[in-house]
């Protein structure tokens, strides 16, 4: 799935302990409200992890902390064992290899589908490179391959703003793919998708795991059942339960706050 020949540098992420993302004792409060409360989360290299939890459980805040949008008040956020994400900016974190899909599909509406992928493509992203470079054949191939993966070959010249909601979701996932990150944070990937589209997305995400670590936040329980190995349930900013879907589903605490409603 990772586009061939696009990789320009081996990421220096140290995953010798098998873990790629460490969120340890993280607390974030907004005006006294603790969005994250001593959260501990460890993601293995190549793992596909689903994160569920009722509204306000801290799922999006967790993603904000990992991607540098929000700074933790306390606690550690490490990418591999060597990169302290709490000290890095959004673009540095993205450059190091953490990609993010937003809850509301966020694509560049005035650019074509192709241009959206071109902008996301993993390459040097400084000003001078952007000003002087011309798209190479291998990049074109990588983009074409991704267009096929996300089923938007026909729409390559379409303005992204004209795509359907589901197509925008896929385009955003495609933008993550060409960025070739080590970790993908994916917020509600199947919102607004048809049953068929949802199934395809599940296949896509499953195929990404292994080469990438994938963290999916979702409300749609059938979707989670279809992809999840391991599920983490967040509640009031910390982990309520963690384990296989069946275990979690039968956990009385989880049933009480979330599943049994």
């Amino acid at each position: 799935m990772s586009p061939a020949g696009v990789h320009i540098k081996e990421s220096p992420i140290d995953t010798s302990h098998g873990c790629i993302l460490y969120v340890e004792g993280v607390t974030v409060s907004f005006d006294g409200f603790k969005a994250l409360n001593n959260l501990n989360l460890y993601i293995d290299d190549g793992e596909l992890r689903c994160i569920i939890g009722p509204n306000g459980a801290g799922k999006t805040t967790m993603m904000d902390v990992v991607t540098g949008k929000t700074r933790p008040d306390s606690g550690l956020v490490y990418f591999g064992q060597n990169l302290n994400l709490a000290e890095m900016t959004e673009y540095e974190i993205a450059d190091a290899g953490i990609g993010r899909k937003f809850q509301k599909p966020t694509v560049f509406e005035n650019h074509s589908v192709f241009e959206n992928l071109e902008l996301a493509l993993r390459e040097k992203k400084n000003i001078w490179h952007s000003l002087l470079r011309h798209l190479k054949g291998q990049h074109r191939d990588a983009i074409d391959q991704t267009l096929e993966t996300i089923g938007l070959l026909e729409e390559r010249k379409t303005r992204a703003g004209l795509l359907s909601h589901g197509q925008k979701q896929w385009l955003e996932i495609g933008m993550l793919l060409v960025q070739d990150p080590r970790v993908l944070l994916i917020d509600e990937p199947v919102a607004g998708m048809t049953h068929q589209e949802t199934e395809y997305t599940a296949e896509l995400l499953k195929s990404l795991a292994g080469n990438h670590s994938v963290i999916v936040v979702e409300h749609e329980m059938d979707f989670i059942r279809s992809i999840a190995n391991k599920v983490t349930v967040l509640h009031e900013g910390s982990v309520l339960a963690e384990g296989k879907m069946e275990e979690v589903q039968n956990d009385p605490k989880v049933v009480e706050v979330y599943l049994g409603e």
């Binding site: 900016t89 993010r100 650019h111 902008l119 952007s130 960025q179």
Partner: protein, 365 residues
């Protein structure tokens, strides 16, 4: 390089652009020089200077379009960069007067009037055209770079940024109004005699200045076109539409914004420097907040995010202004305000937007 530049447009668009450029650089001067005064086709000197002035405004509109139209950062303080370029040129022109001023002194008249005995240190060097050119090219961009560095690093955007730029231009206007600042206070710099030894009264000098302006505007257009057609241009538009997505795609948007902001100020400074010798005066009123707002309106009227729109907007609004200030001076601001409201409500893509709606195939140029 040439190949890359030619690839910026289709052949048809290039033909059109070169035609426009040719009319400006060749036909208009010929109509000025070769056609007798009494002919209908004769272009009189005052029209040459007027066209030169409009072209400076077009350059300003390009500059604002780069930062606002393409990148989505509204600046209401471009009058500052225009004035800095203008004042730098004005200082050179003042020094070129020599001892032919009213007081027959080495010093500019206003300094004699203030009873100053010697030139303030920051006037040193402006005897030299080369030095002046260096200041014109470097100073507006440098000021913008410093201002932008702090504003963008603090992630100030949207209406807050616009208001701060308004405050900036207002503050600088007040500073320049003061006689003690040493730029001629209220009256500014005027009564210029010559540039590079050529008398500014001569029609050949006026024509020369006009032709240089045509050339600079053309080259600036190519530069802007190159930037917006490059991947960098697509990043700028992406910043306008979804900045967080750009950051999470590993772009340091701070650098991109700072780059285009500095480029924009640079172009605006050039415009100011070309404007002053053709108009014959520069004073603090160029930094009035309303002036900078007017500049943004040109772009809005013509069409944001297209260089063609900037050209059309700056030309048409200023033609209208020239007409109004003669025919109905009291109503100009009402007209301008009304035009802005009308365009915002009914023509969000400006005048150029009307045509591209009819002719979807037409480029954005």
């Amino acid at each position: 390089m040439i190949k890359n530049i030619l690839a910026l447009h289709s052949t048809r668009s290039w033909v059109f652009i070169f035609l426009l450029f040719g009319v400006g650089l060749v036909i208009v001067p010929v109509l000025n020089l070769a056609i007798p005064d009494n002919s209908f086709l004769h272009v009189p000197d005052y029209i040459i200077s007027l066209l030169g002035k409009y072209l400076c405004y077009v350059l300003v509109a390009f500059a604002i379009d780069m930062i606002w139209g393409y990148t989505g950062i509204l600046s209401l303080g471009h009058g500052v960069f225009f004035s800095v370029g203008g004042y730098a040129m004005g200082m050179y022109l003042m020094r070129s007067i020599g001892k032919e001023g009213v007081y027959k002194s080495e010093l500019p008249d206003f300094m004699v009037f203030l009873d100053w005995k010697e030139l303030p240190w920051y006037w040193n060097g402006f005897d030299s055209f080369a030095f002046t050119l260096l200041v014109i090219v470097a100073l507006p961009g440098l000021l913008a770079f410093i201002f932008g560095y702090f504003a963008f690093r603090s992630r100030i955007k949207g209406v807050y940024f616009a208001i701060i730029t308004q405050a900036m231009t207002y503050a600088l206007m007040l500073l320049f109004f003061r006689n003690e600042t040493g730029f001629g206070g209220n009256n500014g710099l005027t009564d210029f005699k010559r540039i590079l030894g050529f008398s500014l009264q001569d029609s050949s000098t006026k024509l020369g200045l006009y032709m240089v302006t045509v050339l600079v505007v053309f080259l600036s257009y190519v530069l802007c076109r190159y930037v917006v057609n490059s991947k960098l241009g697509r990043v700028l538009t992406a910043i306008r539409d979804a900045e967080s997505r750009v950051m999470f795609s590993a772009y340091n948007t701070f650098h991109y914004k700072l780059f285009v902001w500095t480029l924009s100020a640079f172009l605006c400074g050039l415009a100011g420097a070309l404007y002053v010798p053709q108009v014959g005066i520069v004073n603090p009123s160029e930094m009035q907040p309303s002036n900078s707002i007017e500049m943004a309106i040109w772009v809005a009227v013509g069409g944001r995010g297209t260089l063609g729109g900037a050209l059309v907007g700056a030309s048409l609004v200023n033609c209208a202004k020239s007409w109004f200030t003669v025919a109905a001076p009291d109503y100009w601001l009402y007209f301008l305000g009304g035009l802005f409201i009308f365009v915002t409500l009914y023509l969000p893509k400006g005048i150029v937007g009307i045509f591209s709606t009819f002719n979807k195939k037409a480029g954005s140029g």
